[in-house]
């Protein structure tokens, strides 16, 4: 059974009397433990698709299932709780909370879930350590480099042990060396812990590390490659 499934997903943005069709009927399914890249040029609809798959936004048509749950049938609050429990998100712009240390950021989702402090800090520290950030756990985002901040964002997603991690161009703001290192770390976690990953990228150097590539153009899936 797929862990994630999108069927006939369309997304139309309306603003100032203009309609923009960002997705034109996308069908996609991910099995548990997959490590998949979503590729395509800017404006192809990658971010929009990830937003819909994570329940941050709702499709104009079609349906998205995550772990067998149809997201459009959930209320806004239910979708928020679903993300909290099931989905790890990594954003292109890191999106760390500036008032929290790396450890607190990594533990934040667990804090929202109401886990006791020792438990959440243990799990957050494990995630940070797995991404090579044990020594920087007490630093605030402003005291970290871009690559380190992105790794903290990944640690936040992983510490929560979600069903799947959706990452929107996680390496876009990193140099190629740091970007590759991050992808390698994510791949290790995928292989060792079986976490399902779907991330968007337009960086061809990262694609040799993935087992499946989904190509998106003009809001449609135009090709797929499995390795």
């Amino acid at each position: 059974m797929p862990i994630l499934e999108a069927k006939g997903v369309r997304k139309v943005y309306r603003g100032d009397g203009v309609e923009t069709e960002a997705l034109r009927g996308v069908d996609l399914a991910l099995e548990p433990g997959e490590f998949t890249a979503l590729v395509g040029p800017s404006g192809s609809g990658k971010s929009t698709l990830l937003h819909l798959l994570s329940g941050l936004d709702l499709p104009t048509e079609g349906e998205v299932w995550v772990g067998g749950v149809a997201l459009s049938r959930l209320s806004r609050s239910e979708r928020a709780r679903f993300r909290l429990e099931r989905i790890g998100l990594v954003f292109q712009a890191y999106n760390l909370l500036p008032v929290l240390t790396a450890l607190e950021n990594a533990a934040f989702v667990l804090e929202l879930r109401g886990l006791p402090r020792p438990e959440r800090e243990r799990r957050a520290m494990e995630a940070l350590a797995a991404l090579g950030l044990r020594e920087k756990a007490g630093r605030f985002p402003r005291q970290l480099s871009g690559g380190e901040q992105q790794r903290v964002a990944v640690a936040r997603a992983l510490a929560a042990e979600p069903l799947l991690v959706l990452a929107d161009e996680p390496t876009a703001n990193l140099d190629s060396k740091t970007g590759l290192a991050l992808i390698e770390r994510m791949k290790i976690l995928n292989e060792e812990k079986g976490v399902t990953f779907l991330f968007s990228t337009h960086d061809p150097r990262l694609l040799e590390h993935v087992r499946r590539i989904v190509r998106l153009e003009d809001g449609r899936i135009v090709g797929e490659e499995r390795r």
Binding site: R83, L84, N95, V99, R113
Partner: protein, 398 residues
């Protein structure tokens, strides 16, 4: 949420201090303003009360009577509560003569306690200590061309008394109203009675101990208790005895309430603006929280807790500072205004030295207002953040 809100505030000291500083300043200024306002209000009426006593006893229908024989009466024995003091006063018209000059004046005979209260108005000389000594309004003294140590004669023929009495000027009075100062002759009660009406007074002033300035209920009760003992006389509270001031009391209250209202409105708008801006710039952050799994209700709760903590803590800081300044004001202060404005104040009967007053009600009103405004300011950004889809909130540009 409370812990999260506190951490957000604690770890952004710049933002918290800037916004909280506005809260503290508004609370501080409101308390100082209210203290000064109440001080000015009290001063005005305390002066009035000091002039008339708590209760005034006069001849029934005195408003329509003009001649001294109709207005003067022998003081009856009154059953008064312990600690109460009764002072007799005689007032009547006379001609004051000094050499070849003369002026019409009102001679007022006071008991020693009444004379002692004139000390604040004394411009030169001293208070009368013996029979035949008098205080003269400074303007009257100038008109008569007399000074300290000079002799004047009060001439009031056709009455019950001697009709003529010589006084030595021992003090000059500076009254707020110049036209009154030009007609003021204050003498010991016995001298005035000898001149105008032996053994009689034109009013009795009853002064009570331990009564609040605006505590009118015990006065009404005492007035009712005295009524059977006042044959042909009438007792009035100090406000009834000053109908003109009593009539302007509601107006004075309304005008000052308007000042307070405008002040609170301005303070509230500044507070609202500061809190609103500090929250609306964080809608993107709230969007991130929603994306990570915080429900709209929890986002709103976070915003409210933050506002409540921020306003609460800094309102207490403002309260502390305001109370410290109020304690100074309560010991007496002079309005920091130019002399010519102070003169105008005096014309309205306000003393230069005021005493600040704050009641618990005003403190709670100010704190409640600050907290209410703070929560109101949190309402829109909190609601906005809770209603937006996380994607929209994260793209939000204020």
């Amino acid at each position: 949420m409370l812990r999260l809100a506190w951490r957000n505030l604690w770890r952004t000291p710049g933002r918290s201090l800037t916004t909280g500083g506005v809260v503290a300043l508004v609370v501080f200024l409101s308390l100082v303003f209210l203290s000064v306002y109440a001080g000015a209000f009290d001063a005005f009426f305390r002066l009035l009360l000091e002039r008339t006593g708590h209760l005034v006893v006069r001849v029934e229908g005195y408003e329509e009577k003009e001649d001294l024989e109709s207005l003067a009466f022998a003081p009856p024995a009154l059953p008064l509560p312990s600690g109460a003091r009764v002072e007799g006063v005689v007032e009547g018209g006379c001609l004051v003569l000094a050499g070849e000059r003369s002026r019409y004046a009102v001679v007022t005979g006071l008991e020693p306690a009444g004379l002692a209260r004139q000390k604040n108005l004394l411009k030169a000389g001293r208070l009368p200590e013996a029979p035949g000594e008098a205080l003269l309004g400074e303007a009257l003294a100038q008109a008569l061309r007399v000074g300290l140590g000079d002799e004047v004669v009060a001439y009031a023929p056709g009455g019950l008394g001697l009709g003529v009495y010589a006084f030595r000027v021992v003090g000059l009075l500076d009254l707020p109203e110049t036209h009154l100062e030009a007609r003021t002759l204050v003498v010991p009660l016995a001298d005035a009675q000898a001149l105008l009406a032996p053994g009689r007074v034109t009013r009795l002033e009853v002064r009570l101990e331990g009564l609040g300035l605006y505590d009118l209920k015990p006065l009404e009760e005492l007035k009712a208790a005295l009524k059977p003992h006042l044959q042909g006389l009438v007792a009035e509270t100090w406000l009834e005895a000053n109908p003109i001031y009593a009539a302007i009391l509601p107006l004075y209250d309304t005008v000052m309430a308007l000042y307070v209202g405008v002040f609170f409105l301005l303070g509230g708008l500044i507070l609202l603006n500061a809190l609103y801006l500090s929250l609306v710039e964080r809608v993107r952050e709230f969007g991130l929280l929603a994306a990570l799994g915080l429900t709209g209700r929890r986002v709103m709760a976070l915003v409210f807790w933050e506002s409540l903590l921020l306003v609460g803590v800094f309102a207490l800081v403002g309260l502390g500072a305001g109370l410290l300044v109020h304690l100074e004001l309560a010991d007496g202060f002079r309005l920091p205004l130019p002399q010519w404005i102070l003169e105008q104040y005096r014309e309205f009967g306000l003393p230069e030295v005021l005493y600040g007053r704050l009641s618990l009600k005003e403190i709670l009103l100010t704190l409640g207002y600050a907290v209410g405004t703070g929560l109101l300011a949190a309402l829109w950004p909190g609601w906005l953040a809770s209603r937006l889809e996380p994607v929209e909130a994260m793209r939000y540009v204020p």
